[in-house]
């Protein structure tokens, strides 16, 4: 605990206005990420994991979004207090992002090189080391340098013949290659924090593991902190050092991957793990979690998981449970944490 965390999200509350009313979509998210840590954020669709990622880059359109409270400390500075220009100074160059669908996240009308060069030039304006050319260098020199950096980055993410492929259009690449291009775009500004929102969901299983291996290598080489948003616990087990499980806008359990997967302590985490099909399971024996995700416009007053929880007691419905430290940074927001109750 010597080095302060790179990113420290403290009690973040976010609401979204919709036709039906105001939904309290993030209700006190706490997450801190250090360099060299890969945090997997898991949860089902709509649990707020992507919103958490987008909030860090301040890319949630507001309105309809409204931050009700909390802070997002990045290098000690609260991102929620920055204006758009201040955020732009961080995006790409301090905070990189990779999104889910590589087919829709590259601009189809431009060569990939064009897009990479512009990202490199924008990042270079904040950190002149990126291109390594003098500040007074002319436009032409800077563009040429940016192109060289782009070729190097493409090669780094495993694109063969990068010097030629850089002039190709996105539709001339396969899905996996496009995701590599997006990773290159996110890395070209040498960010300290990388947020990857379901980077492998749209890809084949075999390509998935290649991309995960690539990301792992990048984290090692660049000493980044990473937030890997996914709904796949297998991806977490394979690629992450830490994991945070989200449910209905709250992080219900978090900690080092090994401890958490060995000893899941929140009932939701256990249900999530029980629902993973394994090769031994016979047809018709897949376990699901009964009930539905709560309506966030009128969320339950107490624990948001209580309505679906088999062990919920009166106390669980009284107020939101505070995270309990189970040792070694393993936290669970539950009044009765621990696998002991599993038998019940």
């Amino acid at each position: 605990m010597t080095e302060p965390p790179l990113l420290d999200i403290r009690d973040l509350h976010l609401s979204m206005t919709s036709f039906d009313g105001e939904a309290h979509v993030l209700a006190g998210v706490n997450l801190s990420v250090r360099r060299n840590e890969v945090w997997g954020v898991v949860g089902e669709t709509g649990c707020g994991k992507s919103l958490t990622g987008l909030s860090i880059s301040r890319l949630v359109p507001s309105p309809p979004a409204r931050y009700l409270g909390g802070e997002i400390l990045f290098d000690g500075r609260d991102l929620l207090s920055l204006d758009e220009a201040g955020m732009r100074n961080l995006r790409g160059h301090r905070i990189g992002m990779i999104f889910q669908d590589p087919t829709t996240n590259l601009n189809p009308a431009f060569r990939i090189g064009e897009q990479l060069v512009d990202v490199a030039l924008a990042a270079d304006r904040r950190n002149p080391d990126i291109l390594g050319v003098a500040a007074r260098a002319g436009w032409r020199t800077r563009r040429r340098a940016a192109r060289d950096v782009a070729v190097r980055t493409l090669a780094e993410v495993g694109i063969t013949d990068a010097a030629e492929r850089i002039d190709a259009y996105p539709h001339e690449f396969s899905g996996g290659m496009r995701q590599r291009v997006l990773i290159a775009m996110a890395l070209i500004g040498r960010p300290d924090l990388l947020i990857a929102d379901e980077p492998t969901t749209a890809l084949d299983v075999s390509v998935q593991s290649q991309i995960l291996a690539l990301l792992a290598g990048m984290v090692r080489d660049h000493a980044m902190g990473v937030i890997l948003i996914t709904h796949n616990l297998g991806v977490v087990a394979k690629a992450c050092s830490h994991v945070a499980v989200m449910y209905a806008g709250v992080i219900v359990e978090s900690g080092p991957v090994a401890a958490l997967l060995r000893k899941p302590s929140h009932p939701y985490t256990r249900a999530l793990m029980a629902s993973i099909p394994t090769s031994g399971v016979r047809r018709g024996e897949l376990k699901g979690l009964p009930g539905q995700v709560p309506n966030l416009i009128k969320p339950p007053r107490g624990c948001r998981f209580a309505p679906r929880c088999a062990q919920a007691a009166e106390a669980c419905r009284a107020g939101p449970p505070q995270p309990v430290d189970l040792g070694g940074g393993h936290m669970a927001a539950c009044l009765k944490p621990g696998p002991a109750a599993e038998a019940a």
């Binding site: 995006r91 160059h93 992002m97 996240n105 775009m185």
Partner: protein, 327 residues
């Protein structure tokens, strides 16, 4: 592209038939009020109009293959000569109007989308509604009243003063020819004559292009790649003017192509009001006297230009959208 030929052939049949089915006797009209029936018959024979319609039609078609568009029964001039003289004037007007519409409409549409629901957007909406609702000829008259009659800044009509020598004919576009001849005062004169009719013609396509550009820009701004571009630190200005604009223009391009054809056909009123010596004015005079050869000639020329405009649009799609190019 091969479809052009049957389309143009169909046009000739249609116009030929309509010309003959209309009531009235163009030959008698052309021969003059005092002509005797014998003189009228002789006149008809001179132009081959006494033959059956299908014979006239086939001989017209064979003539077309040799570039012969027939002869006006009024002026006795070959239609092709008139077309060569008038087409550049119309094209110059249409190009000028289209350039105004595109150069103002596209940035204005982009701005309206970026400043959605703020004053640039409201301003553009009101202006577009006004521009679309205003009939071109009425706008033309208002312009003449304001700029020619009251303010006296611009000439009332015409293309070039009859008293001056126009620049040496090269392209037929007076503005271009003046530049080629390096005659700046002639260029200025040509521009002053071109201004009002071009503005009158441009307003309606300008409004439509602006609205289309606004709609497609709003759609493109919702795309995932725009989020990625923002997330990676590109400035809003770069994203909008470079990455969004190119994607948004391709939808607007279709409208531009269609409007080009619409303007070609729509020059009639504006050319009449501004006394602009182009195809529209020429066709109006021919229609009034039921002089069919010029009418068919103008129809064919406008049809061909329309097809060419759409071909250019198809090629531009490929330039803007690399996916179209490879397919």
């Amino acid at each position: 592209m091969l479809l052009t030929i049957p389309v143009l052939l169909g046009l000739t049949v249609l116009v030929f038939a309509i010309g003959r089915l209309l009531p009235g006797d163009p030959v008698a009209l052309a021969a003059g009020p005092n002509a005797t029936p014998a003189e009228i018959a002789a006149y008809a024979r001179e132009f081959g109009l006494d033959r059956p319609v299908w014979v006239q039609y086939t001989s017209y078609l064979t003539g077309l293959l040799g570039g012969n568009f027939g002869v006006s029964i009024f002026t006795r001039r070959p239609v092709i000569e008139d077309l060569i003289a008038y087409t550049p004037a119309t094209l110059e007007l249409v190009f000028a109007a289209m350039a105004l519409a595109v150069l103002i409409g596209i940035p204005a549409g982009l701005a309206a989308a970026v400043y959605r629901d703020r004053w640039p957007d409201y301003l553009s909406r009101v202006a577009a509604l006004g521009a679309i609702s205003m009939p071109r000829f009425f706008l033309g008259l208002l312009l003449q009243l304001a700029f020619a009659m009251w303010l006296g800044w611009l000439p009332l009509g015409g293309r070039f003063p009859l008293t001056d020598d126009p620049p040496r004919l090269v392209t037929g576009f007076l503005t271009v020819d003046a530049l080629i001849a390096q005659d700046l005062s002639a260029f200025w004169t040509a521009c002053r004559h071109l201004a009002m009719p071009a503005i009158a013609m441009s307003l309606s396509p300008l409004a439509t292009i602006m609205r289309m550009m606004r709609a497609s820009t709003l759609e493109v701004m919702q795309q995932d790649y725009v989020m990625t571009e923002r997330a990676l630190g590109l400035s809003q200005r770069l994203i909008v003017t470079k990455y969004v604009a190119r994607n948004a223009i391709s939808a607007t391009l279709t409208v531009i192509g269609l409007y080009f054809g619409w303007l070609l056909g729509g020059t009639v009123l504006v050319e009449t009001i501004f006394d602009w010596p182009g195809l529209g004015l020429y066709a109006t005079k021919a229609v009034v006297t039921q002089d069919f050869m010029p009418v068919i000639g103008v129809t064919l020329i406008i049809g061909t230009l329309f097809v060419c405009a759409n071909l250019v649009v198809d090629v531009l799609y490929g330039v803007i959208n690399p996916k179209v190019r490879t397919e």
